[in-house]
């Protein structure tokens, strides 16, 4: 192919958005084919939908309930405040059409290497699954008596029923992963023994260590940490020494989980105290705060903690007015009006102000602030080459689906490490990323309202840990799924019959394939009408006709100056005659006045 031809093709090959994935797809750290399964649901192909989901996610029922769904944040419809309800659609497909007999339990032939995974939360479980699929022998050490990490001991059961976690995790057993429950590394087995015994180690222990504010009275009986509270309730169904009046400190999702759990344990008054001035500013999801308010939680915005009082147990909490959360430079730097205080009578104070990592057991691994493991961001390798760390234990707190992606990265790295492969090449887009797609909501779109799932009535949910969200009915799911804009570019293909015939995917693919093949079928460039509709609709203003025209020129040059198309012999003759004197004339203007001229030779 000549340089002129290639020059017109290259920008299209580089920047055509015809194959650009939709926003939801790249926002998902696991790159779930959201558009694919949502549209399968819209078409009533529920079985295919759950199969599509399962290609990327092993716990669709769980994620359908608790995923913080970055896909919805990036949904095009969110620009007008009506993001698709993607997580609930996933839940619909999973709850009703998932069949464990369809699960993919295939794996590569067994390998001799043994891997230890410490922690069975979403990060550890994903790492274990990926490594097992590669054929490694995998053992998971879990300090709790249950699998799931924070899914089980953090998230309350009214959001995620326990039998769902257990059922979805059964895939690990079926894949032949050994799980040692209630086995704490560092206590029941030394970390060094694990490092010495196994060929590779993945640390995925999460962040289960609570913090307390450094205030007077923080160590009084009844002043506790949210993670401990939620864990005990998750494992035992109750909390020893639970009081009637509860105060939760914090504005994030863990604070909300604690407050709503307290409601369900029968507390008479549940206070939620946070620095942020309103629901919008709080870290917790808006809907979570709204549901808590419905359940009677008393919200105290713009309050900080001065002290906790009581003789031999918590009796009061003294609050002080918060007048600033972040300073003008954007740093967390709360300021208070010390003169403005409030006393709240309370039997318990639950601190939900963030978590740290309990990394003391792994003495040989380098840790940073908050006990978090120091890893190479790209490979998740620690200072010990065969030890990788992922999930909440390494960085800022992650969504479950982000933790899974981290687990996948750690598994990939370990696999490369064990096979002496380059650890760093071809590792783009292993997490959520921004697509290069640019689309607009069509002008004629009616912006249909987001369909909301059904909810358990307030009275029932305040009395029990029964699941609050009841999900979509089939009718609702189809209605919601049908709202999907099916974001893609391909505007030119939709407008052009020629592209539909010869380049049905997108010009990028056609030009790329042509460049690789080094030749094109003449019928393709000679089927372009050169009408410019593609350029008109192309967000990048690509002039495909110029590319096709250069192909034509090259073909003519290689064909003795003639078009390679047989049909064009007619045009050759036409042009020959068109330039012959027989049919040409040129006349200067007439001098003098104009006279009406009798029609000559007219008529058809």
């Amino acid at each position: 192919m000549k340089a002129d031809t290639v020059r017109e093709m290259l920008p299209v090959i580089e920047d055509c958005m015809g194959d650009a994935p939709p926003y939801c797809h790249t926002a998902c750290p696991m790159h779930t084919d959201v558009k694919g399964y949502v549209n399968l649901i819209a078409e009533g192909k529920y079985k295919e939908a759950i199969q599509t989901i399962r290609q990327k996610l092993f716990l669709p029922k769980s994620l359908g309930r608790v995923c913080a769904h970055p896909c919805e944040e990036h949904c095009k419809r969110n620009e007008v405040g009506n993001a698709m309800s993607i997580a609930s659609l996933k839940r619909f497909a999973a709850d009703n059409y998932d069949d464990e007999f369809d699960w993919d339990v295939t794996r590569e032939p067994d390998r001799p290497e043994k891997i230890a995974v410490i922690g069975s939360g979403p990060a550890g479980a994903q790492a274990a699954l990926d490594l097992r699929r590669q054929g490694y022998s995998v053992t998971v050490y879990e300090k709790h008596p249950v699998v799931g990490g924070m899914l089980y001991v953090g998230i309350p059961s009214y959001r995620l029923p326990r039998e769902i976690i257990n059922a979805e995790y059964s895939l690990l057993h079926r894949m032949g992963i050994k799980i040692k429950l209630a086995t704490e590394v560092g206590k029941d087995i030394p970390f060094q023994e694990i490092v010495d015994t196994y060929d590779g180690v993945v640390i995925a222990i999460g962040a289960h260590k609570g913090f307390k504010l450094p205030v007077n009275g923080k160590d009084l009986p009844g002043a506790i940490q949210a993670v401990d509270f939620l864990r005990e309730v998750s494992l035992t169904g109750t909390y020893k020494g639970f009081g009637k009046r509860i105060t939760v400190i914090g504005g994030g999702n863990v604070a909300l989980d604690s407050a709503r759990t307290a409601v369900r344990l029968g507390a008479e008054k549940v206070h939620l105290v946070c620095l942020e001035k309103d629901i919008k500013e709080m870290f917790a999801h808006d809907w979570e705060v709204r549901e808590a308010l419905e359940e009677g939680v008393i919200l105290h915005n713009s309050w900080g903690t001065e002290a906790i009082k009581g003789d031999d147990k918590v009796e009061q909490i003294i609050l002080k007015k918060c007048i600033q959360v972040f300073d003008p430079k954007g740093r967390f730097n709360p300021a208070y009006d010390e003169g403005c205080q409030e006393i709240v009578e309370t039997d318990m104070v639950i601190f939900a102000i963030g978590q740290g990592v309990d990394s003391d057991f792994a003495t040989s691994v380098e840790v940073g602030r908050g006990g978090r493991f120091v890893v190479d961001e790209k490979t998740l390798q620690t200072n010990i080459r065969k030890v990788f760390a992922c999930g909440d234990g390494t960085g800022i707190s992650l969504m479950a689906v982000e933790a899974m992606a981290e687990g996948r990265i750690a598994a990939e790295s370990l696999h490369r490490y064990l096979n002496l492969k380059d650890m760093r090449i071809q590792r783009d887009h292993e997490r959520g990323y921004r697509t290069n797609l640019e689309t607009s909501i069509p002008a004629d779109d009616t912006n249909p309202e987001r369909v909301n799932t059904r909810k358990l009535d307030i009275a029932t949910r305040m009395r029990s840990f029964t699941e609050v969200d009841l999900g979509f009915s089939e009718e609702q799911a189809v209605e919601e799924a049908s709202r999907c804009l099916q974001c893609e570019c391909r505007l030119c293909v939709k407008e052009c019959l020629m592209l539909q015939e010869f380049s049905p995917d997108c010009p990028k693919k056609y030009f790329k394939d042509a460049l690789i093949a080094g030749e094109v079928d003449p019928v393709v460039p000679y089927s372009c009408n050169m009408c410019g509709t593609c350029t008109l609709v192309c967000p990048k203003d690509f002039k495909l006709q110029d590319a096709f025209m250069n192909m034509r020129k090259e073909m003519v040059m290689n064909n003795g100056g003639k078009s390679p198309m047989k049909g064009h012999k007619v045009i050759d003759m036409h042009q020959l005659l068109s330039f012959s004197r027989l049919f040409n004339t040129s006349r200067p203007a007439r001098n003098g006045t104009n006279q009406p001229t009798a029609p000559t030779g007219g008529g058809k």
Partner: protein, 255 residues
Amino acid sequence: MSTTKRVFFPGCSLPSYNPMAVQKTLVHLQNHLPGTGAILKCCGKPTKALGQIDQFKKRYAGVQSEIDRLDAEEVIVACQSCFLTLSEYSPKQKVRSLWTILPEIGLPEEVRGIGKDSDITFAIHDSCSTRYRPDIHEGIRWIMDELGYKYEEPAHTKMTTLCCGFGGMVLPANPDLAQRIMKNRTSEVQSDYMVTYCAACRMSMMMGGKQSLHILDLVFGGPWTSKTPFPGAGSTVESWKNRRKAKKSIEKVLA
């Protein structure tokens, strides 16, 4: 000193289709714009479209030498492909479309309102080659309003117009695809009647299943009603005969 300020350049498809319209247009231009000569020649666009760039340059040089010989400062074109080709390759000349000239000089007095009692609504098909020339689109609407015919704007119109199917010499290369593109164009039009301002487009609309006219058929013929017989495809021989007629009448008008 040359008396030729400008030339009328009717192109090839129009003379092959309706030589009488060529002649009448020339007379009309002459009456209102003294100093109008004429050149009947192909601009070479088909050669260029095939990719025969060297051949095209040679042929276009012939066009340019005729313009230069007549010393014309301005070229009035009736074909949108000519408009683009001449605009690009004759940078010294002012290239203007007949469809923007007519609103300036007016239509012949006798044809104003000629279509006001017609029972036909013509769907306008804009040429894709001049999709970015709103002055041309407006000129065509002005002509329709002056004539008094009712007209329809298709979903894709003016800048967003669709190809008639003939562009890029696709018809001889891939007749099946061209036919589908023609059908695609006409299928979004309500009316059974269409008006174009390119003779090749007219042919395509006809092949797409519509009764179709060139806008000069409306200016220099009619009134057209549903009872009027509409022109058909015309044979190749006939079109070359028409071309000869156009040549003869230009030579007669400018004798």
